[in-house]
Subunit: 166 residues, 2 copies
């Protein structure tokens, strides 16, 4: 019973991922969300509870849609160059911002981020047969490269030097 929703919840969450991944959490206002997501304020709060609630859902969606597939693709990688290229090519905007900006202030965000990164680490370690510490370093390196916007194919330069080390 009752009226049906005029919006697709999945599309809305995906759009929120893009918004939060582009600007910081505090840089995206409810008004912007209402406009860009095409969802009324009321429905937004009814559906997601709060701005932070929507952010957490968007973050989990980002991890499920963008980070977990990356970890699965990494399982098929056989050398560091491929692994690094996979990580730097992935869309990790929201993860990056969450780690740098929200994680220090929101321990639930910090836990999600840490778990996701640990999963990527493990996937790399298993695929390449290296220690998790070195795998974590590769993940961190990829994040740093992504943070810098990968100027002049820096990622490939590092990957080339890492290759013989597997």
């Amino acid at each position: 019973m009752g009226r049906r929703r005029a919006f697709d919840e999945d599309e809305v969450v995906r759009a929120a991922v893009e918004l939060f991944g582009g600007r910081a959490y505090d840089g995206v206002s409810i008004d912007e969300l209402v406009v860009h997501l095409g969802v009324h304020r009321n429905s937004l709060y009814k559906t997601f509870g709060s701005k932070r609630g929507l952010y957490l859902i968007a973050l989990r969606r980002h991890l499920a849609d963008d980070v977990r597939p990356l970890a699965e693709a990494l399982a098929a990688a056989t050398d560091a160059a491929t692994a690094l290229r996979l990580v730097t090519a992935a869309d990790l905007g929201l993860l990056l911002l969450a780690a740098a900006e929200r994680a220090p202030a929101d321990e639930e965000v910090a836990a999600e981020v840490a778990a996701a990164l640990a999963a990527v680490d493990q996937a790399i370690a298993d695929a390449l047969g290296i220690s998790t510490a070195l795998a974590a370093a590769l993940t961190a390196a990829a994040l740093g490269i992504r943070l810098r916007g990968d100027p002049d194919g820096v990622g490939t330069a590092l990957a080339r030097h890492l290759d013989p080390l597997d």
Copy 2:
């Protein structure tokens, strides 16, 4: 003529570096700045113009006090392990947050960050005799490791594997 300042501008800027380096730009309010810096609102605006003005000054101070010395120390490094340890040990909180959070929204911040990172890259490249692309990758890797909080000495693990490559 006129009354003398009751605060030390250098101390205030340093304190602002700590504040902005710990929380995000939008996470630090003027009220917090007034309380923690011990400077009255009025004096703050008289001296620094605006919140963004203070942020830019704090960022430049951070780059001058914390990043440039790092680049100079890097000039004396002879291997990647030392270089990486120097970078991960440095206080780069504000630089990291500026790169992730403010640079996409403030091109003046983006320019400062890019210039500072390029200087670090060049210092590493000169010291180790490697390409600037690889040096940029090392800097990026160090930033990523710093972003993750360097769990379990990840930095040293990467450095150990990078050493034979110089």
